[in-house]
Symmetry: D3
Subunit: 112 residues, 6 copies
Amino acid sequence: MAKWDKKFMQERDRLNEIVLSGKHLGIKRFFALDDQAYHGGALDEKTKELMGLVASMVLRCDDCIEYHLLKAYEAEATREQFYEAFNVALVVGGSIVIPHLRRAAEKLEELI
Amino acid sequence: MAKWDKKFMQERDRLNEIVLSGKHLGIKRFFALDDQAYHGGALDEKTKELMGLVASMVLRCDDCIEYHLLKAYEAEATREQFYEAFNVALVVGGSIVIPHLRRAAEKLEELI
Amino acid sequence: MAKWDKKFMQERDRLNEIVLSGKHLGIKRFFALDDQAYHGGALDEKTKELMGLVASMVLRCDDCIEYHLLKAYEAEATREQFYEAFNVALVVGGSIVIPHLRRAAEKLEELI
Amino acid sequence: MAKWDKKFMQERDRLNEIVLSGKHLGIKRFFALDDQAYHGGALDEKTKELMGLVASMVLRCDDCIEYHLLKAYEAEATREQFYEAFNVALVVGGSIVIPHLRRAAEKLEELI
Amino acid sequence: MAKWDKKFMQERDRLNEIVLSGKHLGIKRFFALDDQAYHGGALDEKTKELMGLVASMVLRCDDCIEYHLLKAYEAEATREQFYEAFNVALVVGGSIVIPHLRRAAEKLEELI
Amino acid sequence: MAKWDKKFMQERDRLNEIVLSGKHLGIKRFFALDDQAYHGGALDEKTKELMGLVASMVLRCDDCIEYHLLKAYEAEATREQFYEAFNVALVVGGSIVIPHLRRAAEKLEELI
């Protein structure tokens, strides 16, 4: 396991608790829908996490990229699969994606 | 085959020819990279086309959505797989994706 | 009532039925969350619909703009309030919002 | 008052001075339009600041979120009103908004 | 002159009048700032219109693209310059720009 | 030369090496296309770098902004030209661009 992932998940959990302390039912339900969207079904979990990764890259959200990187890795995505997903995101989203790709590649190499 | 797909591909081809008539080498090479990004490799073509579909939905590009819908269908994605991909895009991209989801679902039902 | 709104809502309903015919539980639940987000609570419905309008303008989604325009009008937003909301969206989102502002203003004048 | 807001406003002022030292008349006028957009009129200041907050969340700009959070708080928005605005932004913008929502909720809890 | 440009400018003028009939001072001033931003100064008008074109392409706004295409053409941008600008936009913005590039190239060929 | 630019380019090079260590041919080719897009041709290098700057500002990517700021400065863009480019980006992209404009202006003043 990489050094960054534990810290990342802890900070994520700490902030999620703050959000949920606002006790807004709609937000709570959205969080549940978000979790369920990546459960295996007609598409397996790895595929869905890689889809989440590509979507996060083209929308350029580093936190989201790190999260799906970690989850896809746990679902046994390989380095080659990650780089092919990176390439789809790069071609769709353009050079504006590159700073995020750089950070994603660094995180991936620490993880794998 | 649906009625829309042939017309869609013909119009796409007609306009691509106009773009390429500009004889810009960078643009020509970009088009080649774009094609190659979806070839099967460590991830199969269907998975990549579905990734392209999700990326196109969260970036809200109807032309791109139709194209990847068609290509993923040709690569044998099932209705259930399409709806799971739609759901990932909806959760990631939010309600702003819904008008595109509506049009995508209509195109899908005509196709499948 | 304007001529456009009835047609707009009918087409919206027709396409929503197609989406929901896919029987994806996550999508169905998302649609419910989307509806509930604009119900009056600590902020009244008109305020929330105007928020939805501003968000739709800066994200540049014509369908979403038309929908929130109609709902805010039903919740008794005035022409002056619409133009102040338009102005917030224009300043936040920049000139790229103007084509959507033009279409929104035309729809508003037909409605009011 | 929270600890972050004073520092945030000072840094903002320091950088605004650098921008305005460029003496570009268009930029100066844009800054004036930006200020005026949130003055109370047919919609009150609190409503407009909450609109600015929602727009900033769906466009995912942390600096803008912090600014409108602070201004809406000064205009007496309540915790419940903030969370309802957060929810509108989350539903419109999708899970990609969540990292910004987390940071916004943390800032809000320090402020209120 | 192309057939599309006259019609395009007339429709634009018609809708601008509707927007300005709302008599919102902020919107009126924004429109003035927008015009002035492209006046020749330290950078000439052609360069600024091409910048506006590239910005409009990466933000994917067809109306904005058509407008800057026309204005840059009036400022004597050449076909080669347009295609180099198209290429910058394509590389920065990625394949999601391609549908807009297609329509822009068609408009350009009708114009030039 | 400013203090930030050397460090910025070194970090950029370090991360590019990690990305390229993934040995994905499509990514490598995209990086080449990205470089070539700014070479002088029918438009000179300075103009293209300023276009890249404006595109990066409206898409709100700080890393991209810093890079094009540096490259346009090396291509002899003047302070007045930078501020006119900043203004185009601000008008097109709206107030959401301002936090990036602030940071860009600070970097520029350190550079010039």
